[in-house]
Each structure stands twice: as structure tokens, then as C-alpha cells.
């Protein structure tokens, strides 16, 4: 995490969990970055990331997705996995940050 900050980026996470659930998650894992709570599914709809019925038992969730937003507000890199079991590795992310930063 401090490596990401050292590479010049802040991290903001977003999920459809309530802020209580996210607070528990952050406490449990010792996370220091903000976790935004998109209970109303506004952001995941605006960002086009809705995975309808992705939640076991029904309900929309976000597909896993990472965007790098530059200071001017444009997206310079993104990763939308095509298999949610397969996630971005920290080393790869740091490589992206260092090579584009």
C-alpha cells in the first residue's frame, strides 16, 4: 500500500456494501484507504460496471475493475478482469504506476 502511495497514487475503493460493513473490513485487514459505500448502486451504474445478479442469491454488484484517474480527470489505464477469480497482482500495478507516472 505504501508502495502505491510512493509510486504517486492514492487509492479509493468502491463496493455496494454499507459503510458499517466496509468499516469492519477495513478494521479487520488494517486498511487505511477510503472505502466508498455505493449502497444505492449509483456509481456502479454511472461507471457502467453493474453485474446484475452477481450477488449469490440475487442483486446487483460491481464487476471487479480498477481505473487510474489522472489529476486532469482522465482515465489513463484500466483493468477489467474477464474472470473474477483472476485479479491484478500488486507488482503489475506498481509497474504500471512507475512506467506511466
Amino acid at each position: 500500500m505504501s508502495d502505491i502511495n510512493a509510486a504517486g497514487a492514492e487509492v479509493v475503493a468502491v463496493s455496494i456494501d454499507t459503510n458499517e460493513e466496509s468499516a469492519r473490513l477495513a478494521d479487520g485487514l488494517g486498511l487505511e484507504f477510503p472505502i466508498l459505500s455505493d449502497v444505492q448502486e449509483e456509481a456502479i451504474r454511472t461507471w457502467g460496471l453493474v453485474h446484475e445478479n452477481g450477488k449469490p442469491g440475487g442483486g446487483a454488484i460491481s464487476r471487479p475493475a480498477i481505473f487510474l484517474v489522472e489529476p486532469d480527470g482522465t482515465i489513463s489505464w484500466r483493468r477489467l478482469t474477464d474472470d473474477y477469480r483472476v485479479r491484478l497482482r500488486p507488482e503489475e500495478l506498481l509497474g504500471v504506476l512507475r512506467s506511466t507516472g
Partner: protein
């Protein structure tokens, strides 16, 4: 009295047990190790091995215990393979998401402490916006 008929068919329960261990340890152990998680190879091998043992048990002793063993082993193996090869890839169309070069859509939501936060709060900084499935 046929001794071999009374002997318990170990393959009938060892096979399904190995399959269940393979499935269970994917979600409890392998998910913590990126290589094991992404390829799922260790768990797929366990599941395949367990199913093979159950099938071998049925071949050796075609009785009802063996059939149950094969049934359980085959159901969980197929379910796990379906999860690994089909289900986890069933994601929506990526083209609806903002493309590289596009302006990031607005993002303003409460964080875990209830404080409103927006992308505008990070002026002058690069921000990694990470959407995740959540823990429900």
C-alpha cells in the same frame, strides 16, 4: 462368506472426501495465494484425483456405496469445474465501462466512516479507483 465383499470399500468415501477437500481448500486456502487462485491447478488436480479414486472404487466393487461415492464425487467435481471455467467468467460487457482516455465519471459517496468523499477531493493527485464485488 466372501471376505472381499464384506471389506469396506475405502475408495467409495476417500474419493468424494478428496473432492470435497479440493473444493473447500480453494475458497479457504488457495484464494490467499494469487498463483493457486488464478490457475486453481492444485484444487483441480485434487478434485480430478478424488473423482478418479471414486470411479476406481465403483469399477472394483460395483455396489450401492460405490455408486453414492461416485455420485457425490462427480457432482462436486462438475460443480467446481463449472465455477472455475464458466461461472467466474460470466461478467457483463466491459464496453459499458469508461474507456482509456475518457474523462472519469463523477464519484461521490460516503466512505467507511460516513464522510462524503469525491474524486474532486484528490485534486492534483493520481487516484486508483478500485471497484470490488464486496463482502456482503
Amino acid at each position: 462368506m466372501n471376505a472381499s465383499r464384506n471389506k469396506f470399500n475405502h475408495a467409495a468415501w476417500v474419493g468424494p472426501l478428496i473432492v470435497l477437500i479440493g473444493v473447500f481448500t480453494y475458497f479457504t486456502v488457495a484464494v490467499r495465494f494469487p498463483d493457486l487462485r488464478d490457475s486453481a491447478i492444485v484444487n483441480l488436480l485434487l478434485v480430478a484425483g478424488g473423482a478418479a479414486i471414486a470411479a476406481w472404487g465403483l469399477f472394483r466393487r460395483p455396489n450401492w456405496k460405490s455408486w453414492i461415492g461416485v455420485g457425490v464425487a462427480a457432482s462436486f467435481s462438475l460443480l467446481f469445474c463449472w465455477y472455475v471455467f464458466v461461472y467466474s467468467s460470466q461478467l457483463p460487457d466491459p464496453d459499458t465501462a469508461p474507456a482509456i482516455g475518457a474523462v472519469a465519471p463523477p464519484l461521490e459517496l460516503p466512505d467507511q466512516s460516513g464522510r462524503m468523499l469525491s474524486l474532486d477531493n484528490f485534486s492534483g493527485q493520481r487516484v486508483l479507483v478500485v471497484f470490488y464485488r464486496g463482502y456482503w
